[in-house]
């Protein structure tokens, strides 16, 4: 393939492709996504279908075993992963959008704006998240369901999920903002930024073209760390009755259930191993993809 003909995007893609762990990770992610999107419809039992064989270990018929109600764990894990990934990725995306914007502005503007913005972050961070989540869900859920039933009835059942996206993203952006701000603070006095300013470039241009790509690395890394945090926070919310409505389960709640199998008397290992394994694999893959993305997008790795 002739080198000169590719665009920056094309070059980035090529760098990514040559990065083996990143590629493996990406393939794994695609496989997982395919499994969770398509898998449950491929002749597997309904995730909420009880059967007469509770607590069976993995075997033909139930490749991941069954739970207390005899529900097939494989399909429950796939559906749960679907929900958790949706929640995790959206939550991380929301936190990236808000956090990056906030941190960029705070660090670039400096002075009083910086102070006010960062002190707001501190105040919000100090307040316990559960109150917010509880109040938001408690106060708005019934209204949201009613509104959705009139506007788009098919997704009215997902009202809780939508609220979770917003809430979970809204509580995760704080650290992102802080980290982005730290990064930008070290960049803003660099020669190339100063040069841009001298040349009369507007702040928005500088933020977009110079600062953003340079914080991309840290942002991607922290975003991949946010995904699991959001997934597990959702499972914590299930103790408050604010998580996914039973009998549906998310990956987080499946792992939580499975964690209770860690005892010295009788371990039903499949209840923990499979959901936790899927989570670990997905997160590892995400981690390597994040790395690969970061390397691919870095303008300086063009040497």
């Amino acid at each position: 393939m002739p080198e000169a003909a590719s665009s920056p995007a094309g070059r980035a893609w090529r760098r990514f492709r040559h990065n083996r762990p990143a590629l493996t990770g990406a393939i794994l992610l695609v496989l997982v996504l395919a499994a969770v999107l398509v898998g449950p419809s491929l002749g597997l039992p309904d995730p909420n279908l009880a059967s007469e064989s509770p607590f069976t270990p993995p075997g033909p018929g139930h490749w991941f075993g069954t739970d207390i109600h005899g529900r097939d764990l494989l399909v429950r894990t796939l559906v749960g992963t679907r929900i958790s990934l949706l929640v995790g990725l959206t939550g991380a995306a929301v936190s990236v959008v808000i956090g990056v914007a906030w941190g960029l502005v705070a660090a670039y503007a400096g002075g009083r704006t910086d102070s006010i913005l960062m002190r707001t972050v501190d105040v919000l961070y100090a307040l316990p998240n559960i109150i917010f989540v509880m109040l938001v869900i408690g106060l708005t859920e019934t209204h949201l369901i009613r509104w959705l039933q009139s506007v788009a009835p098919s997704i009215a059942g997902s009202a809780r999920l939508l609220l979770l996206f917003i809430c979970l993203g809204a509580v995760s952006w704080l650290n992102m903002a802080r980290i982005v701000r730290g990064q930008v603070l070290s960049l803003r006095n660099r020669p190339f930024i100063l040069a841009s300013r001298v040349l009369g470039a507007p702040a928005s241009f500088i933020l977009r073209r110079h600062l953003l790509p340079n914080v991309a690395g840290v942002v991607i890394v922290y975003a991949t760390l946010t995904v699991p945090a959001v997934i597990l926070y959702e499972s914590f919310l299930s103790f408050l009755g604010l998580g996914i409505r039973p009998p549906d389960a998310s990956l987080g709640t499946l792992i939580e259930d499975g964690a209770r199998q860690l005892n010295p008397i009788h371990i039903r290992w499949w209840l923990l191993a499979f959901p936790a394994g899927i989570l670990a694999t997905t997160l590892l893959a995400l981690h390597h993809v994040g790395d690969g993305l970061r390397d691919a997008l870095d303008p300086r790795s063009e040497n």
Binding site: I68, H69, G241, P246, R260, N263, P264, I265
Partner: protein, 559 residues
């Protein structure tokens, strides 16, 4: 009672801290990290200075959750009650074997022929832990304090059986001195009841009737329990209290039965995790798990096989409440139909698996010798017929509704899933599961903001009345909106009857009406308790319906 410093064993910890710091320093060798490690080390040194290891106790019990209050008049939880009973005693106390009431601070009593006046003889050797004698004026003062609405005792309703008790509690009678108890002599006490009350002696063993020290309360007010030199009327005194860690009790040398108090120093641990409690027990750090909530339900079958896990019937019921003020649950036919399709055997066999007794009746069988009538046993045909009569043939037109439950444990969700399946398959109606956080759950229950709600009730004393008076029209614990005059009359008539057999017959009639006619509730099963007890390690514990295991009878068996 100053809490000891958080880390004991200073020499070992200093070595450990030093080692720890050196290792992490060596790992990187950065100046920044070194300074952090140095600060760490200094911090640890400062913290460990002057620490002493905790002397071991003679008995270590795990009591479940951290107690909220151990003031015997104010407490409501079981964990709180065990410690309250260890520190303060009443006229009667619990027998370690049967759980029934036996003589406590009172050595004897006589009952008048009309069954309404008791005369108690206090023990002449009854004394506070300070050595001062306990007299009948102490008893009178304690009872007046408990029933006084300003004390805000939740269980003050137990005093309603005593003359003027209800009036004082309601505020109708302003003078607590009018309570039907008076001192006839330094060791003689007269108690006048409103009606003959067959279970009165059982009531007297409960904490709200315990004797508390007047001078301490008058001097310290709310903070009296942790005041120095607290006088205790019970078998133990409070040595120290470390929040969320442990309470240490020491034998009261002036207790009238001190020679029979088995363990001199008892550590009562507090914790939230059933698995951790089990681990502590299995590794010998805890001698006996006294709280039945600290039982990991996932391990039910495996633990039941073990010889050191003992199962006992327990005075509690698990049931479902209907909100009879909401359509369509205002129609008793609908309620009965729903109750008729529940397969209790399946729930007990597949979900709870602790050997509970499936029950269609609310009063556990054998309570005080009472045998309850049968309620609605599984009968899908009749259920469908009733539902059709109510206008919902085959479940058509039946609105989807919610089953509320508290979310801290998965158990209620699992039971809900079973019930959901039963309703869907047998009746064709749709029920959603609605997990709620604890306070929201309580709030919704008292505001009647629910369709169906998971509930339970633990009996306060060994008599069916403790369950049946829940559903009186005027009862604050009713929480279903159900009112039935006939039921109320039957209960009141029963409680005015002295003889056991006729009384039980009236109660059975009332319960039958509750379960089969009105059906504002669907009982599921009677609770069982499990206690982890190795009879080779611990003696003095016996299973009983009330789940009362007084600390004074328990001792560790030396190896």
């Amino acid at each position: 009672m100053r809490p000891l410093a958080p880390l004991q064993n200073a020499p070992a910890s200093m070595h450990g801290a030093f080692l720890f710091s050196v290792l992490t320093c060596a790992a990187v060798g950065r100046r920044l990290l070194q300074s952090i490690q140095l600060i760490q080390f200094a911090f640890l040194l400062a913290l460990f200075a002057g620490c002493r290891p905790l002397p071991p106790a003679d008995l270590v019990l795990h009591n479940g959750r951290e107690p909220e209050t151990i003031d015997p008049h104010l407490l409501t939880g079981q964990a709180d009650g065990r410690i309250g009973s260890a520190l303060f005693e009443g006229l009667t106390r619990y027998d370690p074997v049967s759980g029934n009431a036996i003589a406590g601070l009172a050595q004897g009593w006589t009952l008048s022929p009309d069954g309404r006046t008791y005369t108690f003889q206090l023990r002449t050797n009854a004394a506070w832990s300070t050595g001062k004698a306990i007299t009948s004026t102490d008893v009178v003062w304690s009872w007046q304090r408990a029933v006084n609405p300003l004390t805000a005792a939740d269980y003050a309703s137990q005093y309603f059986y005593v003359e003027n008790g209800e009036a004082i509690c309601n505020g109708t009678e302003r003078d607590p001195g009018k309570l039907g108890v008076r001192a006839l002599g330094p060791h003689t006490l007269e108690v006048r009841l409103v009606n003959p009350t067959p279970f009165f002696l059982e009531l007297l063993a409960s904490r709200v009737f315990a004797i508390v020290p007047r001078e301490t309360l008058e001097k310290y007010g709310d903070q009296w329990i942790r005041s120095p030199g607290l006088p205790c009327s019970g078998p133990y005194t409070l040595e120290f209290w470390r929040v969320n860690d442990r309470i240490r009790l020491r034998r009261n040398p002036h207790y009238w039965d001190a020679t029979n108090v088995q363990s001199a120093v008892v550590d009562v641990l507090a914790g939230d995790s059933a698995h951790t409690t089990l681990n502590l027990y299995l590794t010998g750090a805890v001698d006996f798990i006294i709280d039945k909530d600290m039982f990991p339900t996932e391990l039910a079958e495996a633990l039941r096989e073990r010889p050191d896990f003992h199962r006992y019937d327990y005075l509690g019921s698990y049931f479902i409440r209907f909100n009879t003020t909401r359509k369509p649950f205002d129609d008793p036919r609908v309620r009965r139909a729903l109750g008729l399709v529940i397969n209790r055997q399946r729930i007990v066999g597949r979900i709870t698996r602790m050997g509970e007794r499936p029950a269609s009746h609310i009063v556990p069988d054998g309570t005080g010798g009472y045998h309850p009538p049968a309620g609605l046993e599984e009968d899908a045909t009749t259920a469908r017929r009733l539902l059709a009569e109510a206008g919902f043939e085959g479940g058509k037109g039946f609105p989807s509704f919610e089953y509320s439950f508290n979310a801290e444990t998965k158990l209620h969700e699992h039971i809900g899933v079973e019930i959901q399946a039963a309703f869907r398959e047998q009746l064709g109606i749709r029920m959603e599961l609605r997990p709620l956080e604890w306070k929201t759950y309580l709030n919704n229950m008292s505001k009647l903001d629910y369709d169906l709600m998971r509930s339970s009730w633990i009996g306060d004393y060994n008599d069916p009345n403790t369950f049946l008076d829940l559903f009186l029209s005027t009862g604050g614990n009713n929480r279903t909106g159900w009112r039935d005059e006939v039921y109320d009359q039957l209960i009141q008539a029963a409680n005015a009857t002295l003889e056991r057999q006729p009384r039980f017959e009236l109660l059975a009639k009332a319960e039958a009406r509750l379960l089969n006619v009105g059906a504002p509730i669907v009982p599921l099963f009677s609770y069982v308790g499990f206690y982890a007890l190795d009879t080779n390690r611990v003696a003095g514990v016996h299973g009983n319906l009330l789940d009362e295991h007084p600390f004074w009878a328990i001792r560790r068996i030396p190896r």
